[in-house]
């Protein structure tokens, strides 16, 4: 089963150009825009603070992990190639297969995030609360996928990703000393943002992903052609 899922992951990724993916080009364009926002945020919050090479390495590790997941989500939408519909499976088995493939991707993404968090925590100066925030946010981020039909949820997924990326970045990019006695307020605000804004959007997107899995598994796509 794992072998099948690995084959599936590699082949669908290689075989799909970004132009073919649903709204893939628009989604990928969000990444440089997000980096732009981060540069502005950094400028506003840390204007005058020297940007060291260690900061560059730390930011790169974090950014690369998020970027790989970003691309992976675009290149692996909830989709099945035509051959799977012809193989002897019923709709329930196809649901199970698509879910396994989806969870396989999510676990791969989560491993990347956890690895990045471990490096950030052990090598760089990141507080425990910040680490917890990045981990929670990163794990939620790992479970996102491009939503197909529901435009509202698609937009949520598109904007949730930069939001999660930027809010996680701020956690470690802004040194604790910068806030002084306000560090607790910053932490509370961060977690409030996570719970009030990001989590409800995340739940909504996950529901849409679940609907997509059902639609794809029943082959309603082909019936609509």
């Amino acid at each position: 089963m794992i072998g099948k899922l690995i084959n599936d992951y590699i082949c669908t990724g290689k075989g799909m150009s970004l132009k073919e993916t649903p709204r893939g080009v628009g989604d990928i364009a969000m990444f440089p825009l997000t980096l732009q926002v981060i540069a502005i945020v950094r400028g506003i919050m840390l204007g005058g603070v020297k940007y060291l090479w260690t900061d560059a390495i730390r930011d790169s590790i974090f950014t690369i992990a998020f970027f790989i997941i970003w691309i992976s989500q675009i290149k692996h939408p909830i989709k099945m190639s035509r051959m799977y519909y012809l193989c002897p499976m019923n709709a329930d088995e196809r649901v199970a297969y698509i879910k396994n493939a989806y969870f396989f991707r999510c676990i791969f993404h989560s491993i990347l995030i956890v690895t990045a968090c471990i490096i950030l925590y052990t090598v760089f100066d990141v507080s425990l609360y910040s680490l917890l925030y990045i981990l929670l946010c990163g794990l939620m981020y790992s479970f996102l996928s491009n939503v197909r039909d529901n435009k509202t949820d698609f937009m949520r997924a598109v904007f949730l990703k930069p939001a999660m990326y930027i809010s996680s970045y701020i956690q470690f990019a802004v040194p604790a000393s910068h806030f002084g006695r306000d560090e607790m307020i910053f932490t509370v605000c961060s977690f409030a943002f996570l719970l009030i804004v990001e989590l409800p959007m995340f739940i909504s997107v996950i529901r849409a992903i679940n609907d997509d899995i059902r639609v794809v598994a029943t082959g309603e796509d082909y019936s609509r052609c």
Partner: protein, 281 residues
């Protein structure tokens, strides 16, 4: 037995209308018609890729609603689309998709690839169109299906392989249980090999039945124009007037062949005259 009863399916402006036919066990059935006649739609419905709007499709008494998995085990297929993963080799593709089939025979698949001169280790995307179809044909055989559904594969086969292909198809059906449904434009081969014919035009099944009945029913008469024009119109599908002699496709009825040369219509002649028909019956 494969059975279509009054099957309708609308796709945009195109519609398959009340398609009814049976494909019995142990036969080679040709599915012919012009481009856009509805052949691929029928094949897609047969393979459960699209659902009919109305009517009933049963395969050995089972339908997709209740027995999808069991039905899919019965089919091997070669479709116009490239079904295999482009970045895997034919061998890897076979093993990957074969794992969904209980009856998949890895050795048989490799043997077929060898027989068809396909490198099992090249990436699928590096193969030519004909080689890709051969791969899918090899896979279709290796899952030990009862029914082979082939959507226009022969046009991309080289003449040498085409002979081999027909041998394999005949061998496949020789047990009297397995059947083949073959959509093709190469009707010469079908004339020689097919036991049954389904002819479609504009989404309708115009003819379905065995080849013997087809040959008896549709006749080509050639001779003097005035003799052909004397034939009652309800029997004439089309008359093609030539400088010295004329030809007509007629629905065979005894009694009007005096002075005319009578021969059974080939599928190609039938398709040609049918497409040129005026007041078709």
């Amino acid at each position: 037995m494969i059975s279509f009863k009054e099957v309708n399916r609308k796709l945009g402006r195109f519609e398959v209308k009340a398609a009814s036919f049976d494909i019995p066990e142990g036969c080679i059935c040709g599915l012919v018609g012009r481009n856009g006649a509805g052949k691929t739609t029928v094949i897609n419905m047969l393979l459960g890729l699209i659902k009919p709007d109305a009517g009933q499709i049963t395969i050995d008494g089972m339908d997709y609603e209740n027995n999808e998995k069991d039905i899919r085990k019965l089919f091997g297929f070669v479709l116009v689309d490239e079904l295999f993963m482009q970045h895997l080799s034919p061998e890897e593709n076979g093993d990957h998709f074969g794992s969904f089939y209980e009856a998949y025979d890895k050795e048989e698949y490799r043997h077929c690839l060898e027989r068809f001169n396909i490198s099992g280790r090249k990436h699928f995307k590096e193969l030519s169109r004909g080689q890709k179809l051969k791969c899918q044909f090899a896979f279709a055989l290796s899952v030990k299906p009862k029914y082979l559904v082939l959507d226009e594969p022969t046009a991309n086969f080289d003449p040498e392989f085409r002979e081999d292909f027909w041998k394999i198809v005949q061998q496949f059906t020789s047990n009297g249980i397995n059947s083949v449904l073959l959509a093709t434009h190469l009707t010469d081969d079908l004339d020689r090999m097919a036991d049954m014919l389904i002819f479609m035009d504009e989404g309708k099944v115009i003819y379905n039945g065995d080849m013997e009945s087809f040959r008896q029913r549709y006749r080509i008469l050639s001779g003097e124009k005035y003799l052909l024009k004397n034939i009652a119109k309800e029997y004439v599908i089309n008359i093609e007037e030539g400088k010295y002699s004329s030809k007509a496709l007629v629905i065979n009825k005894h009694g009007f062949t005096d002075g005319l040369t009578d021969s059974p219509a080939t599928i190609e002649e039938f398709m040609y005259h049918y497409s040129k028909r005026g007041d078709a019956k």
